[in-house]
Symmetry: D2
Subunit: 158 residues, 4 copies
Amino acid sequence: VVGVVGSGDDSRPAVAVARRLGELLAREGWVVLSGGRNAGVMRAVNEGAKKVPGSLTVGILPNAAAAVAPDVDVVIVTDLNNARNNVIGLSSNVLIACGVDGPGTASEVALALKNGKPVILLGVDDLTRDFFQRMEGRLDLARTPEEAVQIIRENSFC
Amino acid sequence: VVGVVGSGDDSRPAVAVARRLGELLAREGWVVLSGGRNAGVMRAVNEGAKKVPGSLTVGILPNAAAAVAPDVDVVIVTDLNNARNNVIGLSSNVLIACGVDGPGTASEVALALKNGKPVILLGVDDLTRDFFQRMEGRLDLARTPEEAVQIIRENSFC
Amino acid sequence: VVGVVGSGDDSRPAVAVARRLGELLAREGWVVLSGGRNAGVMRAVNEGAKKVPGSLTVGILPNAAAAVAPDVDVVIVTDLNNARNNVIGLSSNVLIACGVDGPGTASEVALALKNGKPVILLGVDDLTRDFFQRMEGRLDLARTPEEAVQIIRENSFC
Amino acid sequence: VVGVVGSGDDSRPAVAVARRLGELLAREGWVVLSGGRNAGVMRAVNEGAKKVPGSLTVGILPNAAAAVAPDVDVVIVTDLNNARNNVIGLSSNVLIACGVDGPGTASEVALALKNGKPVILLGVDDLTRDFFQRMEGRLDLARTPEEAVQIIRENSFC
């Protein structure tokens, strides 16, 4: 299971990256787990994954009112609101942050590190990299979705 | 998605019922969602479901230390401990209690009713039936797994 | 810390009992902890407690939108919705159910028993008593607020 | 209610700052709310607050096994583990991060911003400041506990 987090803002460049990432992860046969909302990186990563026949996508929703991305196969409704951000990392073998453009994604990265989960920062700038790199925990950097997949393979995270 | 809850005690008669129930639910093409632990009703319902090719099982675990039932396909680790009991009903279209033999299952039934989810009590005695029947919420009674499936179909819960 | 749970319905007879209970608990010097909403047993128990100078009341709210009872001193906003029902018992030395008139209160009693917390059922009928009495856990019965206080004292729950 | 978060590591310079901060907050008559563990900033801020007669301190504990700081008046046991980090900010009018030395504190700051709560970063370096400053949300910077109190007063956060 690979967790993917990122902005719910559709205008971010990370959205196209997430679509490609979802497809690559699904091709490896890995389950794609995300925040599940019908917005931004969450929608795109599921869209990419479902291009691959036999893929499986899981969405961890904040509450019952949140619109679900159409390509989520298994919907988990937590009603925990932002505390659900902790469940995403805990349920993943490794977490990929497809950009860290807001506090929601920042909290997901921080909580995953706190819980001892490996994190891959994909396409982040130097400031984000420097901020997380000095913290405890296993952190890798990728410039492309292909690199992220390579890191997971080489480290046998999945 | 059909949620199934029940005792973690392997000696309960509900365990054999749960195995049969899991198989029937999977044959209908419904996802079987449970508390996911490797014990009692949780283990049995997943075992039954995975006899059916193409079935999908989801387990909502209380924490990372809990042993996972071998037939769970998608493992969600919440680290919420007993607060995870609320997530099981919220993520299900309908919740089946395969016996109400302890306070954990009683809390899952009560929380599902509180959240407005339909509940089916399967194989419970008169006391349990009477206790929940006077509460708000949609409650049905089944004597056999076959009856439970019939209730879901007739009411289009799934 | 004594947790007090019960119906959010203002028309229940348990509401007057809760007001008296809150006053008695506060006179003993115990902190009164509740679900904190401005309704039914929650409002009444805080109202009773704050008649006593120097008393302290804590409310565990389901979310930020919930109206807070005016006599709650410390407001904890969980945003967990009904999963907050688990926090009430966990944060109490003993839980008193001032009637079990709906599934919310039933879940709070069940979760407290599951978490190994002693529970006192105050003013419940035979059906509710019989339902919880056969479950694991420490359960006492009281007919009046005075009896509930007596049980806490005799067992040194606080 | 002022939430205070920071490292559980006793050797951090932030610990002495937290002790002074707790005292100043309590002198203003504000409730001091923290993660409640008997370590680092959490212990120190409660210690400082309880030097002031009539002060009130609240601790939001991750689970029942966590050691509680001796100066916490009201202990809330969530059993949510790191998801409790979301409850700290939600229950505070304003959150002060007394250093951001690890992923736990980083998650608390990020979640508070996500939930729309004002945050004051006290004694952080330029990297931490720059990382959070470009995110949505209300963020202030303080070099000393006195400055933090001044910011709360000027903005009527409490």
